[in-house]
């Protein structure tokens, strides 16, 4: 209410100023422009079209210098009149009536503008330069603007999809509307005209839907989503522009604006029966980016046309929990906090293990230290949890992906998501998005059959894709299951033999055979499409998942579908490691990389060709890597039968044995990058602060093994090149 009063005051002041304004007084005009911009921001949301009207007034006042004076006078008069109408509208009780009046004012002003500018407006509209970034932009403000708007768009997209399921969902349409409205207002405030224009046009389409003027569905749904995409593109471009890359207007931009303004003129309707015209137009709009895709889109739309029934994703639980209050914090600060808390934990454990505390009879002190420990651990848990975010947003992206893929491939697919409230480290979300996209593409493209084929097989015409997240064994599991045709075991075998990966399937378990699909360059797709089948993908998936210490499994049954299960650590920040010592040094080997540790018998160790050492383990010969030699550490155990062998994978996924002195124990460590000052050191994945405050190096086992292969002779520490000064 306070805002609304303030707004009315501001508006009144502007209107008064306008009345006494001399058309040639450029400074005051500029001031008014600023005031209007402020007004847009605080414009009450209940009165619709208000922000729109203000933007219109502002652009009317910003007539180019060359505008003749009598035209300027008329512009100012029209603006003043419009503002007064708006003021009157605001004084009325009830926002519905006010909204109507405001819209009427906007229409009057628009009409006035048209009559002033005549048909020139249309032309100049075409040739307006595409200035993405305003001249006086503030990079920080712009960054925040982009982040904020992206969130709105994400919300809007989700709401649009659920709206497609249930066009009567007023809550959803309001969400979408609010999102576009806010983006428009903020964009106008920061001066990003293309964004505010696009949002404005999308908003007008949505307002017609909300008012029941048109029925949401068919072409309108596609168009709305296309508008959301357009905004996303713009935000990406904005970000690039901030980074200093020049941007050009996307080809589809003007077309999209025009279509949004008058969808019917371009053959778009909410009628689900004949979406072809609309779809091809949308393909046209999208066509600017990618020509081959366009054909596919048209074909996909045409294929999908006769049956609109089950297409599009469906969510199991559409009731969404109310958003909790939250504060936006810079990730950087959060990371600092987590680091500092980590330090606190270490500092505490140093006090805790201090001789005075442990051995002495200071029971009171011991009690206090224990109490402190409890608080510290709670603080640690809390700070870790701050980085955890629900998978919901990621899953929502997949909804959209499935919808589009199904459209394109002419299949009917519903995506059911479960456990989207499962939380995962924020940094991990980015890492798993790509693998998920790959797998979902594969599932839709190869897994799920076209409707007719499904019908022949006696399956429902609509394929089901299940995306599920849950906690198990201290890990986060993400599962993607389709009910399609499943992986073709025979073809995989054939391909594996052709590629020389296998000789026959004798002694190869199903799961081993199926995991061959993760080998680079291995694709069984019968034809390469724009979406998948190029043999890149699954290996990328595994690489990404491996990189974060996760694991991927695949199971498949003919005609019942395939299931991919990702097992991910709860957080990237904490690595489960085995602390080992080699001479006077301690290293951390990530537990996920360790198959086993053994102390070999003397007869098991042998030398090959007098150089490479091997160890026999269960009938398998593994190369033996002496860590102390590789890393130039003195005073380490030289005899493998007195030390321990840690069995790990090398870079080619063959096992090898690392010789260490002893295991010191298992420990959770916070992985940190090895400082930039040193750069990348092969064999070292990172560093971590150990319990005593010293730094321990985390080994990259694959890298270490690869290193041993390159340098079978011990590597001395090298002195750099000498330079005379």
């Amino acid at each position: 209410m306070q805002d609304s009063l303030e707004f009315t005051e501001l508006l009144r002041a502007i209107a008064e100023d306008l009345r006494s304004l001399a058309p040639e007084d450029q400074d005051r005009l500029d001031d008014l422009g600023d005031a209007l911009r402020d007004a847009v921001v605080i414009a009450p949301e209940e009165v619709l079209g208000l922000a729109q009207l203000l933007i219109l007034v502002r652009s009317a006042l910003q007539a180019p210098e060359s505008t003749p004076e009598e035209v300027r006078v008329r512009l100012i008069e029209a603006s003043a009149a419009a503002l007064e109408m708006a003021l009157q509208a605001l004084s009325q009780p009830g926002s519905a009536a006010a909204s109507q009046q405001v819209e009427a004012a906007a229409q009057t002003l628009e009409a006035a503008l048209r009559s002033i500018y005549g048909s020139e407006e249309e032309e100049s509209d075409q040739e307006r330069p595409f200035d993405l970034l305003p001249a006086d932009q503030d990079p920080e403000l712009m960054g925040e603007f982009i982040t904020e708007c992206r969130e709105y768009i994400q919300g809007a997209e989700a709401a649009l999809l659920s709206l497609e399921q249930d066009p009567q969902d007023t809550e959803a349409i309001n969400t979408v509307f609010r999102a576009f409205h806010t983006i428009k207002g903020t964009a106008a405030f920061v001066g990003v005209t293309p964004v505010s224009e696009l949002a404005h046009h999308a908003e007008s389409l949505l307002s017609r839907i909300r008012d029941g003027e048109v029925h949401f569905g068919g072409g309108y749904a596609d168009l709305s989503l296309r508008a959301a995409d357009g905004l996303k593109d713009l935000f990406q471009m904005l970000e690039d522009a901030l980074a200093g890359q020049p941007q050009t207007k996307p080809d589809y931009f003007d077309g999209l604006l025009r279509t949004l303004a008058q969808p019917e003129a371009y053959g778009i309707s909410g009628d689900a029966g004949s979406p072809e015209a609309g779809a091809s137009l949308l393909a046209d709009i999208a066509g600017g980016q990618d020509a081959p895709r366009r054909e596919e889109e048209e074909r996909g739309a045409a294929d999908a046309a006769p049956e609109q029934g089950g297409r599009g994703p469906r969510r199991l639980a559409s009731a969404e929990p109310a958003g909790e209050a939250s504060v936006r914090v810079r990730t950087e600060r959060l990371d600092r906090l987590i680091d500092t808390v980590g330090e606190l934990v270490i500092a505490h454990s140093m006090v805790d293990q201090d001789k005075t505390v442990v051995a002495g009879r200071h029971f009171d002190l011991q009690r206090k230290v224990t109490h402190l420990g409890k608080i510290v651990r709670e603080l640690q848990g809390l700070s870790m949890s701050m980085r955890m975010v629900p998978l919901k947003a990621t899953f929502q992206k997949m909804q959209r992906l499935v919808r589009d893929l199904a459209h394109k491939s002419g299949k009917q697919v519903q995506l059911i998501t479960e456990g989207e409230e499962t939380e995962i480290d924020k940094n991990m979300v980015d890492v798993i998005t790509d693998p998920l996209v790959h797998m979902i593409r594969n599932a839709v493209d190869h897994g799920i059959e076209p409707p007719d084929v499904r019908a022949q097989k006696g399956k429902p015409r609509t394929g089901t894709l299940r995306l599920r997240a849950y906690h198990a064994e201290g890990n986060v599991m993400v599962q993607i299951a389709d009910d399609g045709k499943g992986l073709d075991r025979a073809r995989i075998l054939e391909k594996a033999v052709a590629k020389g990966l296998l000789e026959s399937d004798a002694g190869v378990s199903d799961s081993e055979l199926l995991s061959l699909i993760f080998v680079p360059g291995f694709s069984t797709a019968e034809q390469v499409t724009a979406v998948s089948g190029r043999g890149v993908g699954m290996d990328v998936v595994r690489r990404n998942v491996d990189a974060i210490g996760g694991h991927i499994d695949v199971a498949s049954r003919p005609d019942q579908g395939s299931t991919f299960t990702l097992r991910l650590p709860l957080t990237l920040a904490v690595t489960d490691g085995m602390l080992v010592n080699v001479g006077g040094e301690r290293y951390i080997i990530p537990t996920v990389n360790i198959y086993m540790t053994i102390r070999p018998q003397r007869y098991a160790v042998s030398t090959v060709a007098g150089r490479g050492e091997m160890v026999m383990l269960r009938g398998e010969l593994l190369p033996l890597v002496r860590l102390h030699r590789l890393f130039g550490v003195e005073g380490a155990v030289e005899d493998p039968t007195e030390g321990l062998l840690v069995i790990v994978d090398d870079d080619a996924r063959r096992r090898c044995a690392l010789l260490v002195d002893a295991l010191l124990g298992q420990q959770q460590v916070v992985a940190k990058p090895l400082s930039e000052g040193i750069g990348k050191v092969q064999g070292v994945a990172g560093a971590a602060i150990l319990g005593d405050g010293r730094v321990g190096l985390i080994l990259d086992t694959a890298g270490t093994a690869a290193l041993a292969k390159q340098a079978p002779v011990p590597v001395e520490q090298e002195a750099g090149q000498l330079v005379r000064v």
């Binding site: 590789l630 400082s675 000052g677 092969q682 064999g683 602060i689």
Partner: protein, 188 residues
């Protein structure tokens, strides 16, 4: 590391001359933190110095140049530590009570620099700083901001950005032998 050493970068790229953070002629004067390596006194721009603390256990990192001692834990941050003696091609020296790590901020990163002893903070005006003498084409004096004089004594003022930017050992014997007499004579 072999690739690093293989690149015989005897000279820092000329572009780096204008690089931000690399203070060049004109505004060299100001406060310097001085420290000792053997009997020679060196100076670092105080603005480059983040903090100083006594020697602490350093974790060696394999396969790095010898002058990189390893990494330390600086309040939860992992930062590398360089032994300036080794960097300058001097003989290694056992740690003493006075051995210090100076944490500098240069080249956009933090780096610990081990020195024999930290001395004092000196104000050396531009007028008391001379250009490092040139020793012809094969001798590189880019690593010095200049030679500072204070109380008749000579301080070698380091351009720490340049020192860190090169991955090679710097031999400054020649300079040390050549300068003091020269500068001392002028100061007298």
């Amino acid at each position: 590391m072999s690739d690093k050493a293989g690149a015989v970068a005897t000279r820092v790229e000329p572009e780096r001359t204008t690089r931000e953070g690399s203070t060049r002629a004109g505004d060299r004067g100001g406060k310097f933190l001085t420290f000792f390596l053997d009997n020679e006194e060196y100076g670092l721009k105080i603005l480059k110095v983040q903090e100083i603390f006594g020697m602490m256990p350093v974790t060696p990192v394999p396969r790095t140049p010898q002058f990189i001692l390893g990494v330390i834990n600086l309040r939860g941050k992992v930062i590398p530590v360089m032994d300036l003696r080794l960097k300058f091609g001097m003989a290694a020296k056992a740690q003493t009570e006075e051995t210090c790590i100076i944490v500098v901020q240069a080249q956009g990163l933090e780096m610990g620099v081990v020195v024999d002893k930290v001395s004092e903070v000196l104000d050396i005006p531009e007028g008391d700083i001379e250009d490092a003498p040139s020793f012809g084409a094969q001798v590189n004096t880019d690593f010095l901001l200049g030679i500072g004089k204070s109380d008749g004594k000579v301080k070698l003022l380091l351009d720490i950005d340049r020192v860190l930017a090169t991955e090679d050992v710097l031999l400054i014997d020649t300079l040390r032998q050549g300068v003091p007499g020269d500068a001392g004579a002028r100061a007298a």
